[in-house]
């Protein structure tokens, strides 16, 4: 299985992403909170570049003890990346579509060899 060079670790800060290509396949590699995640850059919706959009925390409703609505907040731990074409949101840690978890981007293994980050383009 080919390993694609992504970046030098020092040049790939946490919270950023890189897009690498292997033939016709594009892969988005993210670093988030010290871990790497990689997904196919192809939205399940209309085929947009899902990994190239903004990263935004999941939005959550705040419901009170009486089940009344108190407001909204950004999740403290669930980060999404958003397809820039239409706004489909994906859980950064799983590649699942936030609106329907049965839909999922193809994921890839990321390995670090010394200072170099690679993605396994299986």
């Amino acid at each position: 299985m080919p390993e694609l060079f992504v970046a030098k670790a020092a040049q790939f800060p946490d919270g950023e992403r890189r897009i690498v290509s292997h033939g016709a396949r594009e892969i988005g590699v993210f670093q988030w909170q010290g871990k790497f995640y990689a997904y196919e850059n192809l939205c399940v919706h209309q085929g947009g570049p899902a990994c190239e959009g903004i990263m935004m925390h999941k939005v959550e409703d705040v419901i009170g003890p009486d089940r009344g609505w108190l407001g909204q907040k950004f999740s403290s731990d669930e980060m999404h990346f958003v397809c820039p074409w239409h706004g489909y949101e994906y859980d950064l840690k799983t590649g699942e579509c936030a609106a329907d978890r049965s839909l999922k981007l193809k994921s890839f293994e990321v390995v670090q060899r010394g200072e170099d980050i690679y993605v396994v383009a299986s």
Partner: protein
């Protein structure tokens, strides 16, 4: 440009290029062989607000012109004179092209709307696009009827002279100032022969019933000329009923259907299809799921209350089946329901592909081309053939869009 994100983070964007954003669409066009057949997009948009300075040059009333120029200056980047509805089309910045659109560079010497429109048409594989404005979709709600009339005329003059006259791949159904029936009539008289004009369009978000007698002469003229009349959907969060909804998803989902439902109900029950049997009517940007609902609802009531729609000689659904519908935003989450909808609206002859690009819920041609229940001929009809017939478009044999 810095984009605001969650958790006080920001994202820096240095450039924006439509061709790069749509690279995957270009790949789809190649894979699906769009070079082999024409694609006509019956509903796309530009941002006339970005050319408002030029458009105001075409405004004839000197007092309104000065008022608009001053209001624009006072409101920085906003148009000032246009009713600016509350709304979040950019989805909190998630659909980034809204924020960064202004950064895109275009070639010198080419009108910017033409340059940008050609760029996304080529990227997607679209040969001809019918282009509509964006903020002006709200203009039918303007409290001053004379402003709608003056701005519509200025826009129509600007569009025909600066855009349509110079790019045959861009067409338009011109804005009808529908709150003034005489002005609407004059608009058809004045502009119907202009290059690139393929019909006329009513922005649906307004409070003017389509069956009022004052509109009959306009319908008659359009019918005589063989030019279609389109109703372009829009939302209005200021409407008291719509105002009960607190989330933009609800306002958009229902708002973009609501006014077209009202206008279609009036159109049918007042017997306008019988009075103007050759007038071609097109419903734009309400998706498709509402049509089977309207068909079933009105057929069912008509069987009991036909005395209230005495001009009809057929069931309401039969008139609806003679109408045309643009495809976007096509509801695609239940394929069986979509297939049923296609059958009910006679999609193979009545459905017209539309992208709505560059708006947030645009549809690519693949939304039609990849449908498992259509044969190749039906796909090509919906993607282009039906529109070519409706608008009487004569296109050259070779593909106009640059797709490999």
């Amino acid at each position: 440009m810095d984009l605001p994100l969650s958790d006080f983070r920001r994202m820096e964007v240095e450039e924006f290029d439509t061709s790069k954003l749509l690279a995957h669409a270009t790949k789809q066009a190649t894979e699906r062989g769009y070079k082999n057949f024409p694609i006509v997009d019956v509903d796309s948009h530009h941002y006339e607000s970005e050319s408002i300075g030029e458009i105001l040059d075409y405004m004839e009333d000197p007092v309104l012109q000065q008022l608009a120029r001053s209001a624009r200056q006072a409101n920085a980047k906003s148009v000032g004179m246009l009713p600016a509805g509350v709304g979040y089309q950019d989805m909190g910045g998630r659909v980034m092209r809204y924020a960064v659109r202004g950064m895109e560079k275009t070639e010198a010497g080419v009108q910017r709307d033409i340059a940008l429109t050609r760029r996304w048409m080529d990227a997607i594989g679209i040969d001809v696009a019918v282009m509509f404005p964006t903020p002006m979709l709200q203009l039918g709600l303007h409290p001053q009827v004379e402003v709608e009339v003056a701005l519509a005329r200025a826009y129509n003059r600007w569009l025909t002279e600066r855009v349509l006259a110079h790019e045959p791949r861009i067409r338009s159904m011109l804005y009808l100032p529908f709150n003034d029936a005489d002005a609407a009539f004059r608009t058809v008289q004045e502009f119907s022969q202009n290059k690139g004009v393929v019909g006329f369009m009513v922005t649906s978000a307004r409070y003017r019933p389509v069956h009022h007698n004052s509109f009959m002469k306009t319908y008659a003229l359009l019918e005589e000329m063989g030019l279609p009349l389109a109703f372009h959907a829009g939302y209005n969060w200021n409407d008291q009923t719509v105002g009960m909804m607190n989330r933009f998803i609800s306002v958009h989902a229902l708002g973009f259907v609501f006014y077209n439902m009202v206008h279609l109900a009036n159109w049918i029950t007042n017997g306008l299809p019988e009075r103007f049997p050759k007038l071609k009517v097109l419903w734009v940007e309400s998706g498709l799921a509402w049509v089977p609902f309207m068909m079933q609802r009105f057929d069912n009531e008509y069987m009991m209350r036909s005395s209230e729609a005495p001009a009809l000689k057929r069931k309401p659904s039969e008139y609806m089946r003679d109408m045309y519908f643009s495809s976007q935003p096509m509801e695609m989450t239940d394929m069986a329901a979509l297939e049923q909808t296609f059958r009910m609206i006679k999609a193979e002859t009545q459905l017209l592909y539309s992208s709505d690009y560059p708006h947030w819920d645009f549809d690519l041609p693949s939304t039609i081309y990849d449908l498992p229940f259509l044969n190749e001929q039906a796909k090509r009809s919906i993607l282009g053939g039906n529109a070519m017939k409706l608008f009487n478009l004569k296109l050259p044999a070779q593909k106009l869009a640059r797709v490999a």
